[in-house]
C-alpha cells in the first residue's frame, strides 16, 4: 500500500476512534488481558497490558493502529513474554468465516490481484496478463455469505446451549468486521481447559471424527434398534433428522444403510459432517494464547467495525458496521464487482477516477481495489 493511501486510511480510522470512544470498551477483567495492535505496513506489537478504557483510547489515538487485538485468555502477567505470563484461563471463542462455507456465490464476488503485475481479474487460477500463479484473493462478501454465516452461528448456539449446557446469556455474537462472526462464551465450565481439550470440542461441534458405531452402524452383529431416533438429543438426533428426513422414511433408510455396509456408512458420516457440522475454524478455538480482534475496533481488511449483534437475524453489517464518514473523496478504482454500503450501491469500476463517500473509498482501498487519486 502506498504512502497516500495509508495516510488516508489512518486519518479515517483516527476520526472513527476519536468520535466513537463510547463503543470501544476494554473487556471485563482488563488488567488480566494481553492487548496487541498492528500499524499499516508494519508488524505486530503485542504483550501490552492496559488498565481501563482511557488507556485503550490513548493507545488508539497515539498509534492509529490498522487492527487492535485482545486476548481471550487471562494472565497473571499479561505484558510478560509468552512463557512467563502465567496463563490462568480463557474464554471459549469461535470464528465462523464465509470463506470456509464453500458457497457457490463465492466465485461471483472473489477476485485475484497478481503479486507480480498487480493485475486485477476474476480469473482465480492464474493472472490473465502475465500467467503468474502467485495471486492474492480478495472477496467482497454478499448477502448470501452473511446469511449463510448467520445460519452457522445459529447451529453453533444450539449445540452450545443444548449439548454443552451453556446458558444463553453467556454467549455473545460479534460481526468480525469482514466476512463472518466471532462467538464468545464467558464463564462456562470450559474456561480452564487447555488447547487439546478445545480441539476435541471443536471436532464435536463440527461433527468430525465420528465412528459408525456412534450412530448405530456396527461391523458385526448389526442391529436396527441401535440407529438413532428422531427425538434423541445431541448429534444422534440431528443426524437422524438429516439422514432419514422424515420419521416415516426411517425404517426404509435403515434397511438401505445396512445393505450398503460399514464402510459406506463412514461416507454417510463424512457427508453429514460436511452438511450439518458447524463450520468453525478449529485453529481459533484451540488457540488459548490468541489475541483476537477487539470488539469496537476497525478491521483493516474492510474498514468495517467488529460490533456486537443484538439481533442476529436482522443484522446487516453493510449498514450497521459501517461507521466511517460520508465525506467525499476522489479515488482511482479498479473494482470489477458491485458492492453495497449504507444502503447505497457502488461499482463496478474499471480503472476510473471517481468521487465517493469516505466509507466506500476505505472499503475498496482496504481490499486493494482502489487508491487515492
Amino acid at each position: 500500500m502506498n504512502e497516500s493511501d495509508i495516510l488516508f486510511l489512518e486519518d479515517s480510522f483516527k476520526k472513527y476512534y476519536f468520535n466513537h470512544f463510547d463503543q470501544i470498551k476494554v473487556p471485563e477483567r482488563t488488567s488480566e488481558r494481553e492487548f496487541g495492535y498492528q500499524k499499516f505496513n508494519s508488524g505486530m506489537t503485542r504483550h501490552i497490558s492496559l488498565k481501563d478504557d482511557k488507556e485503550l483510547h490513548l493507545l488508539l489515538i497515539q498509534n492509529i493502529p490498522s487492527d487492535v487485538y485482545c486476548s481471550n485468555a487471562y494472565y497473571t502477567f499479561p505484558n510478560s513474554p509468552m512463557n512467563e505470563k502465567d496463563w490462568k484461563e480463557a474464554d471459549l471463542i469461535f470464528d465462523i468465516d464465509a470463506k470456509d462455507l464453500n458457497l457457490s456465490c463465492r466465485k461471483d464476488h472473489t477476485i485475484s490481484i497478481c503479486n507480480n503485475c498487480s493485475e486485477v481479474s476474476k480469473n482465480l487460477t492464474q493472472c490473465s496478463k502475465c500467467n503468474s500463479s502467485k495471486l492474492e484473493k480478495k472477496s467482497l462478501p454478499c448477502n448470501n455469505c452473511i446469511d449463510a454465516s448467520k445460519i452457522e452461528v445459529e447451529k453453533l448456539s444450539e449445540i452450545l446451549i443444548n449439548d454443552l449446557g451453556i446458558s444463553k446469556e453467556s454467549i455473545q455474537v460479534y460481526f468480525s468486521g469482514n466476512e463472518g462472526f466471532h462467538v464468545y462464551v464467558y464463564d462456562s465450565q470450559f474456561q480452564q481447559i487447555g488447547s487439546r481439550e478445545r480441539s476435541d470440542l471443536a471436532d464435536y461441534i463440527s461433527l468430525r471424527g465420528a465412528i459408525p458405531e456412534t450412530f448405530g452402524m456396527k461391523k458385526l452383529k448389526q442391529d436396527r434398534s441401535s440407529f438413532p431416533d428422531f427425538n434423541e438429543n445431541g448429534w444422534r438426533g440431528r443426524f437422524s433428522k438429516y439422514v432419514f428426513g422424515a420419521k416415516s422414511k426411517r425404517s426404509k433408510i435403515i434397511t438401505e444403510l445396512l445393505a450398503n455396509g460399514y464402510s459406506s456408512f463412514q461416507k454417510t458420516l463424512d457427508d453429514a459432517s460436511e452438511n450439518i457440522g458447524v463450520k468453525i475454524d478449529p485453529n481459533v478455538t484451540m488457540d488459548i494464547h490468541r489475541i483476537f480482534r477487539l470488539p469496537g475496533s476497525i478491521n483493516s481488511k474492510s474498514g468495517l467495525v467488529k460490533i456486537h449483534c443484538n439481533n442476529l437475524p436482522k443484522f446487516d453489517p453493510y449498514i450497521e458496521a459501517s461507521f466511517l464518514s460520508d465525506d467525499s473523496v476522489e479515488v482511482f478504482a479498479n473494482c470489477p464487482i458491485e458492492f453495497r454500503l449504507k444502503n447505497k450501491k457502488f461499482g463496478p469500476y474499471t480503472n476510473e477516477k471517481i468521487t465517493i463517500p469516505t466509507h466506500a473509498a476505505v472499503y475498496m482501498i482496504c481490499k486493494k481495489l482502489a487508491r487515492i487519486a
Binding site: 509468552m82 451453556i166 465450565q189 470450559f190 448429534w235
Partner: protein, 341 residues
Amino acid sequence: MLALGQDEIAKYPFIADAGQYLKDKGFSLEQFGTDPDLKQLIDKAYDRILVAADGKIYNSDLDGDHVSKEAALPREVFSFLLAIVLLKLSGMHTLIKRFALAEARRAEKYLEKDLANISDETKKELAIRIIGDLFSVQVEKLNDYFVISVSDYLKHSINFHEREWKLINRRVENGHVFLSPHETVRLIRKELGTYINSKIINAKTPTMIPGFENSVNKLVLLSKKFTTYTVTTGEYPPCIKHAIDVLEKGENLPHSGRFMLAAFLLSKGQTVQQIAPLFKNAPDYNERVTLYQLNHLAGTSGSGTQYSCPSCEKLKTQSLCFAIPECDNIINPLQFGRKKK
C-alpha cells in the same frame, strides 16, 4: 485420606500408607527376609511383578474362596508393599512402569465392579469417592449411567488415541457426558497408572535387606528383556509429502500446514537454512518473515521454546492428515516408518 476397611485396602492397596500398615500389623521389613513363613510373601511379591512385566493382570486370592478371607487380605496387601520394596531395591524403571500399569488395571477391575454394584450402596459410593478424591472427576449416577461434566471428561479423554473416546462419539447432553461403569473407570486408567507410578517413584528406597537379594537380582536380569531398538525407513509420512507438494506447486499451504512441515523437518535434524527454500514458492513468500518464523520454531529466537511436530489427532482436526495404511496407528508423524526390533 479415605477411611478404608481391610477389604478395600486389599483391592486398592496403593491408597494405604505402607509404613503405617506394616506398623499396625506389627511387622518390620527385616522380618520378611528372615522368617521362613513370611519369606514366602517375597516370592509372592516377585510373582506379582513377574505377572505385571508380562503385561498381565495379577490374579488375586480375593477372587477365589479357597483361602479364608481373613488370612488372604493381609497377604494381598503385603505382597503389594513388598513388590514396591523389591522394585525400589532393583531400581529398574521399566519394571516400575509395567508394574504400576498392571496394578492400575487390577484396581480398575474392582472399581468397575464396585461402581456397578446395585446391592451395596457403600461400595459404589467408595468407588465414586476414590475417583473424585484422587482424580478430581465428579461422578453422578443417573439411571443406568454415570454422568460427568464435559470439561472433566475432556481432561482425561484427550489421553486416548482411539476414536471412540472423542467427544463426538459420546452421548453428550446439557454439559454432561454419559458413561457406563466400565467407561468411567477406563477414563482414569492412565491417571491411575501415573498415580501408582508416582507413589512408587516417591517412596524411599530402603538399604538392602538380608533375604531380599536373590529376588532383586532376578528383577535386574528380567528388566534387560525389555530394552528395545528402533530403526526408521527415512521416508516422509503422507502429510509431510502433501505439504511439500502443495508448496512445490506454488499453491497456498495454510499457516498450520507450514508449522507442521517446519516443525517436522526441524525435529528430523534439518537446519533453518535447509528448510527456508521450501517456502519460496508460497504466494505470500517473504524471506525475512520466513526466517523469523523458522528461527522462532527452532527456538533460536524468541522465547527459546523449541516447538514439536503436531500430533496426528491435531492434524486431522486441521484437515492436514492424509493417512495411508503404512501410518499404522502412529500418533505423531515423526513416528512414521519407525520399526521396533
